[in-house]
């Protein structure tokens, strides 16, 4: 629209002058701001106070801030007709009859006593005059903090207790968490803090842990604890600290907690005999003691019975007493023993196979570990026939059956010839001239005596000849028992030690176990703590791997250990 704006101003000589301006705009903005089309100055005029625009054939005024006066009436908006007067902050804007070519005409009579300097002093020249405020910001942030960080989470706690579901958008007590949960715990309980924190201002109680961990055993059985002067064992959370980073951390593996009790075991442990421990290595830790089995023979009808008695001995004095005849030296000498499969020197792992726990070894069995070299053949003429292992009666009966068949078989040519091996002599054949059964029994007896007392069984086993008339009762073979775990109180991950620095393969095994020098099976090839200290220390060092008590010792006894207690 085209508007004619006529301003009434006072000329330099005090005579009022009209000043006309043509304005082409969709609407006329009115206010004290510099960008308003009609600028009216004064304290009661807002920056953007009002607009005047076309409405039908006439005009309308719309106040943007508060109200304006139209013909002395305060209104928010009003239609304007010719002759109407709009009053804003003392200024008057009169709608007059527009001359030809104009859509509207306005006559502006400004308030006289307003001079420019008054408005300039009203400029906002300090941040204090803006919306910024220190108190406002402080209280807003505090309110936000108390509502979101305290009140709403407290409400969530109450709702949890009343088993009411919490909307996903609602801030809950997880805002109080001091760090991430262990992933397994996170998976199990999610954001329910009250799964463990049952009471405000109370530490997590063991009951919360035991609700899920029902099979865990305490460090000391109550009857043993009663023998000591110690208090109750600490809360689970004494060692198991949650909300750490990394989240997978869950066990306080520091030695301090262990040593707090074990360092003074002489006084604190009462009648329990436990060596004092003040750390790892040197004089801080007791010497390693080997748990061995000793055979105890008891005379019984027609022979012996064996009991295996556990004994604990020092590594220096301890001797294996397994009843096995075996020389590691011999088996590891490539000039004397080679593998049957590829004619190469035996490796440790050919006989000693790690169990899946990575710690213990499969028990050595004759059938799986020895038989590939040590066949139980007894007749070079029948290399496919072998004696049953571990069953002396069966072996005797089998030999008798074998020779009976051999001497009575009409299709076997001359059964009267038998071969006999003598030490230091080439095989020579002897002739039997008696009845086939007698010849067979005699040959069988000869072979049986040879197997039990000169070659065969006696090569590895202790065999006692009781000179009993009854052949089946005559030879007693001592049973063999090898210790499965020399150090049951500790665990040693063999698998982690298959490579030690630059040592690998047999070299790694032999660095601890002096097998090449062991001629007797009674040799205890167990390394002591100084060997561990070559690579490990309790304090971090450049050339040492740090170990703590819990690296070797379990705090919670395993179910198998628990049974023994």
């Amino acid at each position: 629209m085209d508007v004619l704006l006529r301003e009434l101003r006072e000329g330099p000589d005090g005579i009022p002058e009209y000043h006309d301006t043509e304005i082409a705009a969709d609407e006329l903005t009115i206010g004290s701001a510099a960008d308003q089309r009609i600028q009216l100055l004064g304290r009661s005029v807002a920056g953007r106070q009002a607009v005047i625009r076309k409405a039908g054939s006439g005009l309308e005024v719309i106040s943007k801030r508060g109200k304006v006066r139209v013909n002395l009436k305060r209104v928010v908006s009003a239609k304007l007709a010719v002759g109407d007067i709009v009053g804003i902050g003392g200024h008057q804007l009169k709608v007059v009859q527009p001359p030809g070519g104009f859509d509207a005409a306005l006559e502006l009579r400004m308030l006289d006593d307003v001079d420019a300097s008054a408005f300039e002093s009203a400029f906002s020249t300090d941040l204090m005059q803006t919306w910024l405020g220190k108190r406002k910001a402080a209280w807003l942030t505090v309110a936000l903090l108390l509502v979101v960080g305290l009140m709403v989470p407290l409400a969530a706690v109450m709702m949890h207790r009343m088993d009411k579901p919490i909307p996903a958008f609602m801030p809950s007590d997880k805002l109080w968490t001091s760090g991430p949960l262990n992933p397994a715990h996170q998976q199990a309980i999610g954001d329910r803090c009250d799964a463990c924190h049952t009471q405000l201002f109370q530490r997590v109680q063991d009951d919360s842990c035991l609700a899920c961990h029902q099979t865990i055993h305490d460090h000391v059985a109550p009857d043993r604890l009663a023998q000591t002067t110690l208090d109750e064992t600490g809360r689970c959370a004494t060692c198991h600290r949650e909300h750490n980073e990394p989240a997978t951390y869950l066990v306080n593996s520091g030695d301090g907690l262990c040593i707090a009790c074990h360092a003074d075991s002489e006084h604190k442990f009462g009648t329990l005999k436990v060596d004092p421990v003040r750390g790892f290595g040197g004089t801080k830790h007791p010497e390693f003691m080997a748990h061995l089995l000793k055979p105890k023979t008891t005379q019984a009808a027609g022979g012996f019975t064996f009991d295996w008695v556990p004994v604990v001995q020092s590594l220096k004095d301890g001797k294996e007493d397994s009843n096995l005849k075996f020389s590691h030296t011999q088996h590891m000498d490539p000039d004397r023993v080679l593998r049957t499969s590829d004619s190469k020197q035996l490796n440790c792992a050919d006989c000693h196979v790690l169990q899946t726990d990575g710690e213990h070894f499969e028990p050595i069995q004759m059938e799986t570990r020895c038989a590939s070299c040590h066949e139980l053949t007894f007749d070079p003429g029948a290399p496919d026939r072998q004696l049953p292992h571990g069953k002396p009666r069966e072996a005797i009966l089998m030999l008798q059956d074998y020779f009976t068949r051999k001497f009575s078989d009409p299709n076997a040519g001359k059964p009267t010839r038998e071969r006999r091996r003598l030490p230091g002599h080439d095989e020579e054949e002897q002739t039997c001239t008696g009845a086939p059964f007698d010849c067979a029994m005699r040959s069988a007896r000869t072979e049986i005596e040879s197997q039990f007392s000169r070659r065969g069984c006696v090569g590895c086993h202790v065999v006692v000849d009781t000179h009993n008339e009854a052949l089946l009762e005559r030879f007693q073979v001592y049973p063999i028992r090898l210790a499965q775990d020399y150090f049951p109180a500790g665990h040693f991950p063999h698998r982690n030690h298959l490579i030690q620095g630059k040592l690998t393969g047999d070299e790694a095994c032999l660095s601890c176990h002096k097998a090449k020098d062991s001629k007797e099976s009674s040799d205890l090839m167990l390394p002591g703590m100084p060997k561990c200290e070559e690579c490990h220390s309790e304090r971090a060092a450049v050339d040492r791997v740090t170990v703590q008590c819990v690296s070797c010792h379990a705090y919670h006894p395993l179910a198998s250990q628990e049974e023994k207690r």
């Binding site: 405020g133 903090l145 968490t177 001091s178 600290r241 593996s253």
Partner: protein, 294 residues
Amino acid sequence: MIHRSLLRYGGARYLWWSLLVIAASCALYATQDTTAQPPNGGTWQGYVLGTIGALLIVWLALLGIRKRSYKSTAGTVQGWTSAHVYLGGALLIVATLHCALQFGWNVHTFAYVLMCIVIFSGLFGLYSYMNHPQLISKNREGGARAELFAELFELDRQARGVAQKCAAEVTSAVDSSIERTSIGGGVAAQLFGRDYSFFLRSAGGASTLAGNVDQQAVIDFVAARLPRAEKGAEAANLQQLIVLLCRRQAVVRRIRRDIRLHGWLKIWLYFHVPMTVALLFALVLHIVTTFFYW
């Protein structure tokens, strides 16, 4: 200058205090047995660091009271402020060691963030107090802001007077440029010196609202009329007007720069003070919620 001597107060004795606090905190942090528990606020060292941090926060906030206690004899305000600056910097290290850089969406990290806002706004304030007073006095050439405004109003009066004697378009342009000069304004306008000035450009009876940033457009408008001036008196008036408007331009520039420098000198307080209050509450909440779920 007082602002410079803030850091050198007492031979920078609080710098050494601060370094001592930092060194002691680092040593304490290093004693944490990482095999027992990863470093965090829950180890005994963590609790000690947290206690030191909390005491520092409370003491640092007490500066707001001490500087208003004119009768107090507990050290000079200048000494307090010097210690406030140095120990405030040390607090950042102490609190970071306390939390061992473990952050999350929780009230504890919120307290840490508030503390960082307070410390970094404080450091910005320190920077402003070191630099801006010099720039301000250089800009004002020793005078006060009121003097600049007085000079502006005097120029306004003279320019209006001369403009009255000129053609109607010039009168309208000069009057409107004076009335529509924008100085200061909102936060952004004050801090960045935004200029929303306008003037009415009239030609042949019609007028349009034209931008007048830095008062340059109105000077150009008046100058453009100079070659077309018919009478000698008119040319003289226009020349006089141009001189007045140029002087006015210089004064407005100076006032705007003064407002801008003052804004930057004070803006940090609008973060530092309210966030300190919020931090004190957040600190209490941090401690209370820690023991809610012990």
